[in-house]
Symmetry: C2
Subunit: 393 residues, 2 copies
Amino acid sequence: MTTFDFALLHRDEAGSARRGRLMTRRGPVETPAFMPVGTQGTVKGMLPEALEDLGAQIILGNTYHLFLRPGHELIARLGGLHRFMNWDRPILTDSGGFQVFSLGDLRRIDETGVRFQSHLDGSSHVLTPERSVEIQEALGADIIMAFDECIPYPAERGYVAASTDRSSRWARRCREARRSDDGAALFGIVQGGMFRDLREKSVAELLEIGFDGYAVGGLSVGEDAGLMYDMMDYTLPLLPADRPRYVMGVGTPENLVEGIARGVDMFDCVMPTRNARNGVLFTRFGRISIKQARYAEDPQPIDPDCGCYVCRHYSRSYLRHLYRAKEILAAVLNTHHNLHYYLQLMTEARSAIETGSFNQFRRNFYALRETEDVVSPRPNRPRRKINESVRSD
Amino acid sequence: MTTFDFALLHRDEAGSARRGRLMTRRGPVETPAFMPVGTQGTVKGMLPEALEDLGAQIILGNTYHLFLRPGHELIARLGGLHRFMNWDRPILTDSGGFQVFSLGDLRRIDETGVRFQSHLDGSSHVLTPERSVEIQEALGADIIMAFDECIPYPAERGYVAASTDRSSRWARRCREARRSDDGAALFGIVQGGMFRDLREKSVAELLEIGFDGYAVGGLSVGEDAGLMYDMMDYTLPLLPADRPRYVMGVGTPENLVEGIARGVDMFDCVMPTRNARNGVLFTRFGRISIKQARYAEDPQPIDPDCGCYVCRHYSRSYLRHLYRAKEILAAVLNTHHNLHYYLQLMTEARSAIETGSFNQFRRNFYALRETEDVVSPRPNRPRRKINESVRSD
């Protein structure tokens, strides 16, 4: 059984960007990597083969959703999540913590774990660190995430300190609950809200336990992009250079470029897939909303510079028609294009780091993003709320 | 410009089944052929390339829907329906008559045509034989259907006689409205309800006008399968052997086999695609409803004898999960399988006619269809009503 490892291949000389490779039991993942979100055992609207063609090397699955439906034990009996969904590349699963904490009145927390009611049928369940690991192992995850609380923003210092301490104790229980010999990785998750000293304390406690990789959680939860970058700037250098770094639930293309510049290796976000279903499409010039009347008779592809299947074959006019007619193909084609955009951005970033031109890449990225088509005038400022469940799609 | 033609390649010696080939300006169509329905410029949930891979050689587009949204003139300015939807094989369009007649209180008929209100926004429009031909030409249809009334069942003889006469007059106006030099075919549509003499009169009037092919309309509108087959038995021999015969809006796999046995060359129906979206899947053993609890943990493919992409890669358990979770991929995979079933059935029927074994094929078809999985205990008895719009999907 191959055990998990991480190789650091290139470092940007002028900054902190890194080019690396995860070695998982189901093959390599080139980093920096973006992980499409496959909440319910499918990346919405995408055939697994199409995801592979787009260059996705790893996807994310949601423990909370799969635990409730169809159930991790059923998936295990059918040979695991990979076989169930016809995807044989690596899968990272979240711990379910994010979703159960988001349930509000439907959950109760104590030191043991979280008691919650299913959003599907109101049935009562308990998720603990041990149970979360057990579920993720049953699903067959190649990277297992520790069970933690993703702290909302804003939050008071007292709450953040207590929650972060508890997440550290839960992280230790996750480590102890792990079977040792199946080759899957276990990642710890740094919390601490927007308080530097609490981030530092969280890192220290996780390092003492020891994990295969380290995630930075509790970002992109409603704070300014500037504050999010400050937290990355402060937290990432505290993490060991020879372990992968994953910023969870992030983000916009700008967030990805800024994260890479600060040394992040892994990202996940529902943004490309969920936006696609809402008719919002990414281009190197900015985002466009395909439902707008200006595209009614526009024969151009989404992005004339894009080489993806959708841009090679379909006009904005057709995509607007599909969207307005609520056709299934609207979601399929829009998702395909947006994931191509995200994955291509990562490919270009990796190449830029390898050739020592990441700063040039970053400047070009911003230089192109000036068009009247842009939906959001402040793309660096995510308007998501934590309750919008940015980590399940 | 290639003009439309039809070649009769084989005739079943023991019966009326025929093996032929449509020669259209966009390439050949082997018959008997099934045409997937692409109502709004897309066969719901299917990429055009996937349709091609399944062997679809021609699809059907709906004039009524495309006229209202996005509009035939817009589609024409963007290069026609083929280019708009990225499909370069033949397209047959219906005339829109079926839909406008189905609008009930929203339409008013006179000799000129039908005034109706859009089901989308209530806007007022007029469809006439000339206008229907003009729209179908603007869309770029390779086979244009005459504008007629599809008579509901049951209907009184007086109404059927008057309606059929009017449809004949409209058929002549369609013929006169056709441009002569674009290579597209024009098909007339036999009406006459369930009255043999009115069917005979309709055929005679259409033959006098002269068409590239002849459709039998007004079937599968609520009548018993037995009555439908009687009407086919009576009507089809009246049509010229050297012209293609198309039975519109039909039907179940059983209907297709029985239609082929009676000399039908072309079919269309929403049954495989719409049923797919409702979780009803076709197998050679009968239909199964994937939502049933019995499939919750079933590791088998939909049909163990099926070689399609879905059956090679996915279990009934996974497909049930996708359906229950309302995932886009449920519609995509189910539609793929059902269209594979329909198109494969036609491939096998063509091969059987070629090798003189069609009766054997037909016996085998029925022999296999005995399983407890079958959804409908009387699969030969369609339960559709005309208002369910069996010709748009």
